[in-house]
């Protein structure tokens, strides 16, 4: 016989003021299974909890109903109380007679008492079907994975490594550095980007706790918090990293020239190459799509010239699997393809470029050695037009969101043009100027007041060529009249967008992303670097447009979260998870796509049937991944899946009890 104890709390006058608690306690005595029932002024207080513990002993109670405030408030309190009274914490049910009863029905004591009685009856009916549940623990693998080797990934890796944990950075390009490596100067201080980034790259490369896995991609992710099994595809570099000294002779002798992605296709690299001179690791890879040997079978110049015989054409992609305790996703962003804007003539006009092209043009190590020369004929432009919000804040053709960084980098570009070309004129077409950030508005003010950039509020409706000039036609909405500027070069501030393979990675790791494929944080305010998947954290622009300081701050935050996890040997798991009755499960797999955590899978079991051994498939729940939502239980038609603590039997008992 199950023996339920019912404890009705007065909560001072909070409950007792509207509910006749003594009567509820009296009524409860007649409910099936109830062995003891009482009321008390403050059940959560020390004497209240002692009362429960004593009653457990004196009346041999084996499950408890506390009718008081919301379980969202004191369920943990009373669970602890049960545990110290010698009962399993999950043999508790609470009836919420404060928030859901006394506080909302203060004027009708009879009805409120009736309702409180029914809520207690529901709780008693449920608790009779509660089972003791055990929290278990899962071990934490003390190794972190950072996906993406841009500034956010590097910062996160450094912070985790400095806390004493091993970190692997997986970067798909041959070098770490990301977009920041392409940038010339950074706002609002005009520090040289390379001067602040490259030391961090070197620090990461030399850190005893950091392994760089460049030219590699994530192939598969399995497992759960503390125990992610990640398969990494190390793409064939065709260069033996252990033999190569990075002397660069091969890159000088390679006969094949390919437009350099790093230089925005404005100059060439070789087929065997490092993306940029400060690359880390500074050892080349062979671009097999363009390499003469790989395309025609002849050449082998680099192999012959290499003094250490490091070139190896027979290398193949290698798959390695490693277990990690935590994952930081820092895959960054891509730039909006603005070829949809026919009015800006992209593709047709060589001198209409993007902000990132411009970064390379003003960069001392760029294709023009830092001299601003326009791409078409190498002339120094005198009149430069900048157009902001190309793809941003444009639901019709681009993205609805603000890309956040363009206002500031356009101001920076305008300043740099005015600084480098003394007799230049700079025009900026804008919708709004948004400069929240330390020192940002001051910088913008200097751009207009000190450097004399001319800001024109309005959209550009057309750009067309006239001789060697570009005519930019738009409207000055402040003056309410059309404007036309003769420009030598036009720079578009294109929107930041998610990486093209962002959704694929999110699906692989198992977390969610928004309609623009930016990764979704667990809570926009209170959990901004966590994902809904425990153990997976976000850093940088993969979560949404961000500038460098924000990316770095978020990376350090994600690192702190990862370190918090890795500092533990093991972590407790919530026992409220789904479970499978294998005898009933037909293995149809309808539960699998419903689970948001990839906690469900099918496995093959063996059993005896009709005198022989047969195999069949059944569902299996990974309790490390399951968060206990119960969606699978409804997808399962035969009720082979059930959610512990919220079982079908328990919910049906509550429904039935309510109807008595």
């Amino acid at each position: 016989m199950k023996r339920v104890g019912v404890f009705i709390c007065h909560c001072g006058s909070n409950i007792a003021g509207a509910v006749d608690c003594e009567k509820v306690a009296e009524n409860a005595k007649s409910f099936p299974g109830v062995a003891f029932s009482t009321d008390y002024k403050y059940m959560c207080s020390e004497p209240g909890q002692e009362l429960i513990k004593k009653a457990i002993k004196d009346h041999k109670l084996d499950r408890i109903v506390v009718a008081s405030c919301s379980p969202r408030m004191h369920e943990p309190t009373f669970r602890r109380c049960l545990e110290s009274g010698g009962l399993n914490a999950y043999l508790l049910e609470m009836a919420n007679i404060r928030e859901h009863c006394s506080w909302v029905h203060p004027d009708d004591k009879e009805k409120a008492t009736w309702k409180a009685t029914e809520l207690v009856r529901m709780a008693v009916a449920k608790v009779l079907k509660n089972e003791p549940l055990q929290r278990s623990t899962i071990p934490i693998t003390k190794r972190a994975l950072v996906i993406g080797g841009g500034i956010a990934g590097i910062q996160a890796a450094l912070d985790i490594a400095n806390a004493g944990h091993i970190v692997d950075i997986v970067e798909k390009e041959p070098s770490i550095g990301g977009k920041m490596a392409q940038i010339d100067k950074t706002f609002p201080t005009l520090d040289c980007s390379a001067c602040i980034l490259t030391p961090k790259m070197v620090e990461a490369a030399n850190h005893p706790n950091i392994n760089l896995i460049t030219y590699s991609e994530i192939e598969n992710v399995e497992g759960y918090v503390g125990n992610f099994d990640v398969t990494i595809r190390k793409k064939a570099r065709s260069v033996d990293m252990t033999l190569c000294t990075g002397c660069g002779t091969c890159m000088q002798k390679c006969p094949t020239k390919v437009p350099s992605e790093f230089e925005m296709l404005m100059t060439d690299r070789r087929a065997i190459y490092t993306p940029f001179p400060q690359a880390i690791p500074n050892k080349p890879v062979i671009d097999r799509k363009n390499c003469r040997y790989f395309t025609t079978g002849k050449c082998r110049v680099c192999e012959k010239i290499c003094p250490t015989k490091a070139v190896d054409y027979t290398q193949e992609d290698e798959l390695v699997t490693q277990r990690y305790g935590a994952i930081v996703v820092a895959t960054g962003f891509d730039l909006f393809d603005h070829s949809v804007y026919g009015e800006y003539g992209y593709g047709k006009y060589k001198d209409v470029i993007t902000g990132l092209h411009f970064e390379r043009l003003i960069n001392a190590s760029g294709p023009t050695m830092g001299k601003i020369k326009r791409p078409s004929d190498g002339k120094v432009p005198k009149d430069v037009v900048f157009i902001k919000c190309v793809g941003s804040r444009d639901e019709a053709k681009g993205k609805a969101y603000c890309s956040k960084t363009c206002c500031m980098y356009t101001a920076k570009h305008a300043t740099l043009v005015r600084e480098k070309i003394k007799d230049s004129n700079v025009y900026v077409f804008y919708m709004d100027v948004r400069t929240p950030g330390k020192g940002y508005d001051e910088f913008y003010t200097r751009t207009t007041d000190q450097f004399g950039a001319k800001y024109i509020r309005g959209r550009v409706s057309k750009i067309y060529e006239k001789g060697d000039k570009l005519i930019v036609r738009g409207e000055d909405t402040l003056l309410g009249r059309p404007v036309e500027v003769e420009a030598d070069m036009v720079v578009l501030a294109t929107a930041m967008v998610a990486q093209p393979d962002a959704a694929k990675l999110a699906q692989m790791v198992g977390f969610s992303y928004d309609q623009d494929n930016f990764y979704t944080e667990a809570h926009p305010k209170l959990a901004p670097v966590e994902t809904h998947t425990a153990g997976v954290f976000l850093a940088g622009a993969c979560q949404g447009p961000k500038d460098i300081p924000e990316s770095v701050a978020q990376a350090s935050a994600a690192a702190a979260k990862a370190c918090g996890l890795l500092s533990k040997e093991e972590m407790p798991t919530e026992p409220i998870v789904s479970c499978v009755n294998e005898a009933i499960c037909a293995g149809c797999g309808m539960c699998v796509p419903v689970c948001p955590y990839k906690a469900l899978d099918l496995k093959v079991i063996q059993e005896r049937a009709h005198g022989k051994t047969i195999t069949r498939k059944v569902a299996t729940v990974n309790s490390g991944l399951c968060q206990g939502c119960g969606a699978c239980t409804v997808a399962c038609r035969s009720a082979a899946l059930n959610l512990k603590h919220f079982t079908n039997e328990q919910i049906l008992a509550e429904v039935d009890a309510l109807c008595l």
């Binding site: 005898a583 009933i584 037909a586 149809c588 797999g589 498939k617 038609r637 035969s638 009720a639 049906l652």
Partner: protein
């Protein structure tokens, strides 16, 4: 004997003689001229039992569930609806494709058994209702095909679009009239579960209505429990029903079960876009995924 039956028997004999399959499932003549129940043939000399006529109603794919643990392959004949049922069971991972040999038969539509019984052998017997509305008369998947040239022997769909006029007729009733209608139907239900047993969408190992421990359903036979059964079963086959109409055919009380199933098919198509169960084996099930832009009615 028609050419088709000859061909059926030839293929079945060949399959059994060569040992490609241990058993061939087809139809044979039953106790009455208007009945053609399933035949399970495991000896080449017995293939002459096989028939193909206007009453081969049974959806044979469901019987494959009985053979999952048998060694060797099973060969079955499939009409359009049997092949959709086959796809359904495949999609539910209840059978393995390479353990089954499918012999496809294009189907011109079968005749109404009850009317046949009533009108007699020489009368002009109307087509079964499910066949009048059939949109997939040809097998969607098969290894052998009964017919010389597939293109010539394929049958035109009896109907291009679904006919929901029967569902709509109920939808226009008042809530009380609707309840009256259905209550009358389910007062008669015996809960014999024949509808479930014959259904290719019901592929559970143990149906919840057989799970007495949980107490999903009471033992009492009354309209309330029977409706719990009917509504639950309708929801359980939502998005899975292939409209073979077998549930309704086998119901001893002539309850219009397809009127419930068709209501859900109608709404699934209306709310979530066109969907035909058992056509695309790799597709997502209507209740196995969602669209963020699904209709929003719960503001």
């Amino acid at each position: 004997m028609s050419d088709k039956v000859k061909k059926m028997q030839e293929i079945a004999r060949e399959i059994l003689e060569k040992g490609e399959a241990k058993v061939v499932i087809g139809w044979e003549k039953g106790t009455h001229w208007y009945l053609s129940p399933p035949a399970f043939i495991d000896k080449p000399e017995e293939v002459e039992r096989l028939v193909w006529d206007d009453f081969c109603h049974n959806n044979l794919s469901k019987y494959l569930k009985d053979y999952v643990n048998h060694e060797g392959k099973v060969a079955i004949f499939v009409k359009g609806c049997d092949s959709r049922a086959f796809n359904r069971l495949l999609q539910d991972k209840q059978i393995e494709r390479d353990k089954v040999i499918l012999i496809g038969i294009p189907c011109h539509g079968l005749k109404d058994q009850d009317k046949a019984k009533e009108l007699g052998e020489n009368a002009d017997i109307p087509k079964a209702k499910k066949c009048v509305e059939c949109r997939y008369p040809n097998p969607l998947v098969y290894d052998y095909f009964i017919g010389e040239e597939k293109a010539l022997d394929e049958v035109a769909a009896a109907s291009e679009a679904r006919d929901f006029s029967d569902v709509e007729a109920i939808e226009t009733l008042s809530p009380d009239e609707k309840y009256e209608f259905w209550n009358k139907q389910y007062e008669r239900c015996l809960r014999c579960y024949a509808c479930r047993n014959v259904c290719p969408a019901c592929s559970c190992r143990e149906c919840i209505f057989d799970q007495t421990r949980v107490g999903w359903i009471g033992k009492a036979n009354n309209a309330s429990e029977n409706q719990f059964f009917a509504l639950t079963r309708a929801m359980h086959v939502a998005g899975l029903c292939i409209e073979c109409g077998e549930c309704e055919r086998v119901c001893p009380m002539n309850i219009p079960i397809m009127l419930l199933n068709k209501k859900l098919i109608k709404d699934i198509n209306l709310l979530f876009g066109p969907y035909d169960a058992g056509v695309d084996v790799d597709g997502k099930l209507p209740l196995g995924h969602f669209d963020k832009n699904d209709p929003e009615e719960f503001m």
